[in-house]
């Protein structure tokens, strides 16, 4: 049985300017120990998908309109707050993009780090602190015994992200959701953090959902990748297939618009136009107005996410019909 199965998730934001369909019918599953990448541009709904699972969508204006998220037999979207608390922060943890704003600047690292332990386990403060020191050492912070009493501002950005990771992993979760954890960091520090996530994953055997807009990061880290566009999954496959045989026109266009280190072309391929406004109803395929292959029926028929080959799903009518 899968560790996490999400079915028909729809999260809308009801604002004065209309209803934003941030996530509009997302289905996926995740096995134990697996690494799943979710790739998409800003506004594609990749973060909101994970926020919905974690119960972090502010309601109102947000509302989960439909769907289930079964985590080991418990529906995270419809369980009691008590059941959710037993899972969130213990069996499922999350790290965020900006380690500057996700740590409390008024509290010492020690207090923030051991909080999940004090909440979820029957443990004395002294033992919790010992575990905290071990956790900091595990993420590569030297002199943990002293530095655990520092405040967040005494750490650099990369170090803060290490503290965040230590905090997320201190309860030995089965699933870690990482929302763009390296976007705010320099490349050399990004490389350190990616190595660390890989190492911790192997040690703890946990599953990871890795949200990013950087296809490069995904290629070395993930087993499987999902590409999102305008609140929906447009393609999902194992990493090699998605990189070497992408099917959906959006995924293909995304690949071609990266200024790769391997090739120096004169002109970069560009996707014309902009992502659609998800507060307006979208007829047919959301990508059709920007798609070089779009046919008349793409603007009329809503393309389903269908299995193209075992394990490879994609949502393009023309690919499904074998035309492109």
């Amino acid at each position: 049985m899968s560790l996490l199965t999400v079915k028909d998730l729809r999260t809308y934001f009801h604002t004065r300017n209309g209803v934003y369909r941030a996530v509009d019918g997302v289905d996926f599953h995740l096995e134990r120990g697996e690494t799943l990448g979710i790739v998409g541009e800003s506004g594609s709904g990749k973060s909101v998908t994970c926020y919905s699972i974690m119960g972090l969508v502010p309601q109102p204006p947000g509302r989960i309109e439909s769907g289930t998220a079964m985590f080991d037999g418990v529906d995270l979207l419809h369980c009691t707050p008590r059941e959710a608390r037993a899972i969130r922060g213990k069996r499922v943890s999350m790290i965020f993009q900006d380690p500057m704003t996700s740590l409390n600047p008024y509290l010492r690292i020690s207090e923030q780090l051991i909080e999940p332990l004090l909440i979820h386990e029957k443990i004395s403060k002294a033992d919790a602190l010992q575990r905290g020191r071990e956790a900091l050492e595990a993420v590569g912070i030297n002199d943990a015994a002293r530095r655990i009493h520092y405040y967040p501002h005494e750490f650099s950005g990369g170090m803060r992200q290490r503290v965040m990771i230590a905090m997320a992993l201190i309860t030995k979760p089965e699933l870690l959701i990482a929302d763009e954890p390296t976007t705010a960091l320099d490349v050399t520090v990004q490389a350190q953090i990616l190595e660390l996530i890989k190492k911790m994953q192997q040690e703890l055997g946990m599953a990871v959902i890795f949200i990013t807009h950087d296809l490069g990061v995904v290629s070395g880290l993930c087993d499987r990748v999902m590409v999102m566009y305008a609140g929906r999954i447009v393609e999902s496959a194992d990493t090699r297939t998605l990189f070497y045989q992408p099917k959906h026109p959006y995924t293909r266009a995304l690949h071609r618009s990266i200024p790769s280190l391997q090739a120096k072309g004169r002109e970069l391929f560009t996707i014309p136009g902009m992502p659609p406004d998800v507060s307006k109803p979208i007829a047919g395929c959301a990508f059709a107005p920007r798609c070089e292959f779009a046919a008349d029926r793409c603007l009329l028929t809503d393309p389903p996410l269908a299995e193209w080959q075992p394990g490879h799903r994609q949502a393009c009518l023309r690919v499904q019909a074998g035309e492109i």
């Binding site: 541009e41 050399t188 990493t239 280190l261 072309g265 560009t270």
Partner: protein, 327 residues
């Protein structure tokens, strides 16, 4: 034939650090830019890369004379800007313009596109008032915006469109040099490609010199003719863009290139990656000798003693590493 439009000689920009509230005293200096010698040719795209805090943005501001220089000279077409009066500097600003990273913060939200683009034309008296509207319309077309959006405000545009407005503003005075400080970092990949193409095309058409600052090496390689790699206020490697990124010589450039994740799973899983330990050191108290030595794989005793200077490694390449011949 070399035809430098901009020449920097041993440029230094230091900032004092003050301690104390009532009685201020200087407690140290941040050497943000520490002895940069560089020239930019007419029509050339020079990429400037480095991690955050390495001084690349300060260097840009120093060139623009937005911060006072501590030492060295900035020469634009034979005019020494570091010794110019305020009026002279204002006049030379026509020839040098800047595009910033965040198109949300660098445009005035209370000014329409027309007001934003007309302001430099009016201030510098580029054309008679009656012609301003046609000039603005032409500028908008140059950067791929429809002139009918002239009366709209920045919030009505997307990030990519705002960056186009910022580029149009920079072009308004027909400058000879444009400094673009991380112009695509805040944009999505599909939009990033549009802006990169636009900058490359404008550079070619108008024979502009472009200093392109970024931390993303693949972007820099794509757009630049030459690239300069900065570490802690100094240039550590300088050479043709493709050459530097495909065959990096300085240990820092090597690590930087190897740290970039590539969208190629097979390569990504097999290649040997140099993961640097630690963070870049603080520019307040830089390490003795070569600033990179505490993180360098090849560091020896002598790296702690001498500050390496940028020396020619080949006719086109300059590298600042004392062990260059040995590694």
């Amino acid at each position: 034939m070399p035809d430098p439009i901009l020449e920097l000689r041993d440029v230094k920009t230091y900032f004092p650090i003050h301690r104390g509230f009532f009685i201020k005293r200087q407690a140290g200096t941040v050497k943000a830019v520490d002895g940069v010698t560089l020239s930019v040719q007419r029509g050339e795209v020079l990429g400037l890369v480095g991690e955050s805090g390495c001084g690349k943005s300060t260097l840009a501001r120093t060139i623009m004379q937005l911060v006072p220089t501590t030492g060295g000279t900035v020469v634009l077409e034979g005019k020494n800007l570091t010794q110019g009066s305020a009026t002279e500097i204002r006049r030379t600003r026509r020839d040098m313009q800047m595009v910033f990273q965040d198109p949300y913060a660098s445009l005035n939200p209370r000014m329409t596109v027309f007001a934003t683009l007309a302001e430099p034309l009016i201030v510098h008296r580029v054309c008679p008032r009656g012609e301003v509207t046609t000039r603005v319309a032409r500028l908008m077309e140059t950067v791929g915006l429809a002139p009918r959006f002239m009366q709209k405000y920045p919030h009505e545009f997307s990030g990519g469109q705002r960056q186009r407005i910022a580029i149009a503003r920079a072009l308004a005075l027909e400058p000879k040099v444009i400094i673009a400080d991380e112009p695509v970092s805040a944009l999505d990949v599909s939009i990033q490609a549009q802006i990169l193409n636009l900058l490359a095309e404008l550079g070619r058409k108008m024979n502009l010199s472009l200093i392109f600052i970024a931390h993303d090496l693949s972007v820099v390689k794509h757009i630049s003719d030459r690239v300069a790699v900065m570490y802690l206020g100094k240039i550590v490697e300088l050479g043709p863009a493709v050459d530097v990124i495909e065959r990096p010589r300085h240990p820092y450039t090597r690590a930087l290139v190897s740290a970039i994740p590539t969208p190629n799973p097979d390569l990504e899983r097999t290649r040997q990656r140099i993961v640097l330990a630690g963070d870049p050191p603080s520019p307040i108290s830089p390490p003795a000798g070569c600033a990179f030595h505490p993180r360098c794989l090849y560091a020896r005793e002598k790296c702690r003693l001498a500050i390496p200077s940028l020396v020619a490694d080949s006719p086109t390449r300059e590298v600042a590493c004392v062990r260059l011949a040995e590694i």
